[in-house]
Amino acid sequence: MQSGTRLGFYLLLTPLVLWLALLIVIPHIDMFLVSLRERVGVRQYETSFANYLTFFTEPLYIWTFVRTAVMSVLATIITLLIAFPVSLYIAKIARGRLGQVLFVLCLIPFYVSELVRTFGWMILLRETGLVSNLLQWAGLADQPVEMLYNDAAIMIGLVYTSMLFMVVPLVTTLESLDDSVIEAGYDLGGNGFSVLREIIIPHAAPGIVSGSIVVFMLSLGNYLTPTILGGKDSLWFTEMIYNQFIVRFNWELGAAFGFMLLILSSLIVWGMLKLTRQSLEETMG
């Protein structure tokens, strides 16, 4: 019996281990090895940190990374600010059938591929697009307005793409908050603001943190949205990695960039967790 359950445990563990090893650990080790190679001649390589040094000595690379990180943090904050009231409404006010319908409405855009969704935004925001025409029709603009290819367009795209990943953990944690706890908050003299600050937000903190981590990572690693909505000036770090790999055919530098992205984004998440005094264990429940 004992050995039977043990065998079952290992059998269940195997796919996970294979998945981790084959798809995550081994490629990353390989990437890391590639990033440590310095090309000294044709087909001649030496092991060194030169590629990493390039990242730190070239201001454009660092600025692009900082810009990407700041934009991603901003996108995360904006997503949280929009998703929180939506989730609170779905979980605590609408409830039942209406709540389910609203939840599905949040989900529906994700039935369509990200590419198509992003093109949808292009149709809305381009010079001859809906918003531009609407503004002209309303007399607010006397000529076509180009709203694509700027940071605001990237931000709209990022927030829109990330919304669901914030709403799902928030709705889940908010639904687990007992109504009577909220009522007790009011009963003991709290108003809407203090109940939100002292009861609802602390309770939702794990959901806020896990949602924020996911949204931040998705934004940071997003390639499609910044490239399409931001145009050629978007200066997104993933674009830079792409360019190194595909355009410049400099795999060594691309791999180093990839690793920097992994390390720096992990550091940012760790720093945010420290700053908000949350631990990963709490967040993952």
Partner: protein, 366 residues
Amino acid sequence: MTPDLECKGLTKRFGDFTAVDDVSFSVPAGSFFSILGPSGCGKTTIMRMIAGFQDPTSGDIEIKGKSVLNAPPNKRPVNMVFQHLALFPMMNIADNIGYGLRRKKLPKDQIARKVDEALDRIGLPGIGNRKVDELSGGQKQRVAIARCMVMEPDVLLLDEPLGALDLKLREHMKIELKALQTAFDTTFIYITHDQSEALVMSDQIAVMNEGRFEQTGTGRDLYYRPDSAFVAAFVGESNRWRGKIERVQGNEMEMRTDTGMLMRGATHGRSLSAGDSADIFVRPEAIRVTRDATELEQFDNRITGRVTSLLFNGAASRILVRDATANEEIEVNLPQSGEYASLARGDEVHIGWSGAQGNCFPVGAD
């Protein structure tokens, strides 16, 4: 003296359903008032209306003589202990108890002092830094009460707070709650479906059924002199028979049950007349059991039968006696003085009770 709480013609409808139907009552200051009723009778709705979470369809709620209908829950001088206590899991015990005081914008040192006082009072000093889930059920209970009591409410509402506790702890908390109420000298409104909780703790009990108060009185009133068949059946346990009244003479009456037993009883001033269909209730402890028929001569109801079941339950042990003629089973309390310890199934016993102990209600009046 104005009562702490007065409800006048309180009514609440949800669509076509009337949850609370024209309920009026007043609770004097410092008393322990219980609303007792089966689940779904509307007692929680009354409590939520007093707390301000629901608005009555009509009627008025006054606290210390002032209507609170227009005050939101956070402005009412009432606090509520919720069914599942609703302690704030994200705060430690001291912050839980201090929550309401922080809302009142009291200075920090004063809050800390009051929280310590409250913890002393509930007999749990020094647990302020613990987390909610580190406490036992009974401790949480006391913290939930302390959290309300630091607010010094005019009225404390308790919504079946003992429901989640196990039996032993519940018995213990009953006594403790009553002691806390005396210690804090605050008006408690307690709702429960457990009659023993209500009977043990309350000064006044209202029995509620289908949105109405059936009867309001002390536990003793409800137990011995129920006003309606519902109260008689709901409070305590009874033998219940249905039959036809054959004779009414002054305060005395006779009724024959559908199975043919003749019952003598008293009308207790209720309007009963010959030919009426009626229910009669006789409590198991009102019936005397003996092996010797001559001991029952002072009783006007006497039956001889055989023991069909022994229901041993310590002090509350009972037997079921099957009447030889009508083939009816009667529940009888077994005296615990030892003389019936050898009683076995199939033994012949004589039972009897005084007619005045029974309560008879015309059918359809409940």
